[in-house]
């Protein structure tokens, strides 16, 4: 038995918001693959649950008239991987969630849970950040939109009030058109492992040069980071080994790797530099570039 003290099934997002507002200490459970693990660990702060698992209004992946891709927060990793729109427009999102856990996990774990748990190792977050995903959030005052960029405020923390529900993620055409992108999860095993370092790059070419690089590292700082220095080192530069070297050199200023049982700080920095070049190259090649 899970040590659940309070449990309500929400029948709508509005009701979930109301239940959260009325019950101090309550939090949402979506796929439960984090929450139920915390309960197994004996964490009392996960004992009061508002269940949104059955809310169809939070599922579904589709395109708006202006070409904006909408991914419902309760979409499972498997549904994201299977979506034709995701595979066609933002394939790196499918690639990224495909590295999480094993098949059983991907059948249940949701994208919304992966973002809202604030984990620095979340596999979806880099792909969503390079495509500058916008969050649609519902609270007592109605719906608001906010960029995913800046949503993570610290390890395990996000800028979400305790009575708010993430409804969907939106990716605008200007953030996917013309980009090639890639994710590399550096982990100790090929499956069923958490990233030691995660690197996501998206590249838009301009003629023979890199028009724009968007580079994100996870598990390289207290929150997922967009790498402004590395991105600047690539902008307008040709598709050469020197450009990749410049990206690898600049990225050290963007990250703050730490020592943990998974890897020491200097080793992490080595992986970060190597991946910055390798994944940028792969993204540029996927955009149609040749080195």
């Amino acid at each position: 038995m899970f040590a659940i003290d309070y449990y309500q099934q929400a029948e709508s997002v509005a009701q979930a918001v109301a239940l959260l507002a009325a019950e101090p200490g309550a939090r949402l459970v979506a796929g439960g693959t984090d929450v139920l693990i915390r309960l197994r660990e004996g964490r009392g702060d996960y004992a009061r649950l508002v269940d949104i698992n059955g809310l169809e209004e939070l599922r579904g992946i589709g395109l708006a008239d202006d070409g904006t891709l909408r991914i419902g927060a309760l979409s499972t990793f498997r549904q994201v991987m299977a979506s034709d729109d995701v595979r066609r427009l933002v394939p790196v999102v499918a690639e990224a969630v495909g590295t999480a856990g094993g098949p059983q996990l991907r059948n249940v774990a949701t994208v919304g849970g992966n973002i809202c748990n604030g984990a620095v190792s979340a596999d979806s977050v880099g792909a969503l950040l390079v495509h500058d995903a916008q969050l649609e959030i519902q609270g007592p005052e109605g719906r608001r939109r906010t960029p995913l960029q800046g949503f993570h405020t610290g390890p395990g923390r996000v800028a979400l009030a305790r009575d708010e529900v993430l409804v969907a993620l939106h990716i605008r055409p200007r953030d996917y058109r013309g980009f090639g992108a890639a994710y590399y999860k550096y982990a100790m095993r090929e499956a069923m492992d958490i990233a030691t370092i995660g690197c996501t790059a998206a590249v838009r070419l301009e003629g023979e040069a890199i028009g724009e690089l968007r580079l994100v590292f996870t598990v390289a700082a207290p929150t997922p980071v967009r790498c402004a220095h590395a991105e600047a080192a690539a902008a307008g530069r040709p598709l050469t080994a020197e450009t990749l070297d410049a990206v690898a050199a600049a990225v050290a200023a963007d990250v703050q790797p730490r020592t943990s049982w998974r890897a020491r700080q200097d080793f992490r920095l080595h992986i970060i530099r190597t991946l910055a070049a390798r994944v940028t190259r792969r993204a540029a090649e996927r955009a149609g570039g040749k080195f």
Partner: protein, 164 residues
């Protein structure tokens, strides 16, 4: 707190009064479906794998109340009229069962995989990836992969595209 859960388990309709704190694993074992094993209890080993609406899930980290309105399959339901399913028979034929603790969970993962890939060309790497959520301490997996290959009807040609 209890909730009423109506679901189909191994082809039979059930209406159950379920404690909201129960996992699906607890619920199924209480019904006597003890093929569903608790290995780790935290989604790592796959010994508790069952199919929910045809998809493999870890029943140890799945609330029993989520079974409402769904179709559940466990290894018990795969044998019919005293005859094993094609996947179960393939495991026996390939010698893919040693201590057996992982076997019911693996059978369900393989069943979902085989049903979805029948008639398609599948690499050994794909089979391995599709079974990455099930740990086996005994077999070394090779016989398990052979069993799945046999079910997919391509035991004869075995390209070693993952280098072994």
């Amino acid at each position: 707190m209890r909730k009423t859960v109506s679901c189909t388990i191994n082809g039979r309709a059930y209406t159950l009064s379920v404690d909201v704190r129960q996992s699906l694993l607890d619920m199924l074992r209480e019904l006597g479906l003890t093929s569903v094993k608790e290995g780790c209890g935290v989604g790592e080993c796959g010994a508790c794998t069952v199919l929910v609406n045809g998809r493999a899930i870890d029943s140890c980290i799945y609330l029993a109340v989520w079974a409402h309105g769904k179709t559940i399959r466990t290894a018990e339901g795969e044998a019919a009229d005293g005859r094993m399913s094609a996947v179960q028979q393939a495991y026996v034929d390939a010698g893919a069962v040693q201590c057996g603790f992982c076997t019911p969970g693996l059978i369900m993962t393989s069943t979902a995989f085989v049903e979805r890939h029948r008639g398609r060309k599948v690499s050994r790497q794909e089979i391995r990836r599709a079974h990455a959520g099930n740990l086996c301490r005994c077999t070394g997996y090779e016989t398990i992969i052979r069993a799945v290959e046999k079910c997919l009807g391509r035991q004869a040609e075995m390209p070693s595209d993952d280098g072994d």
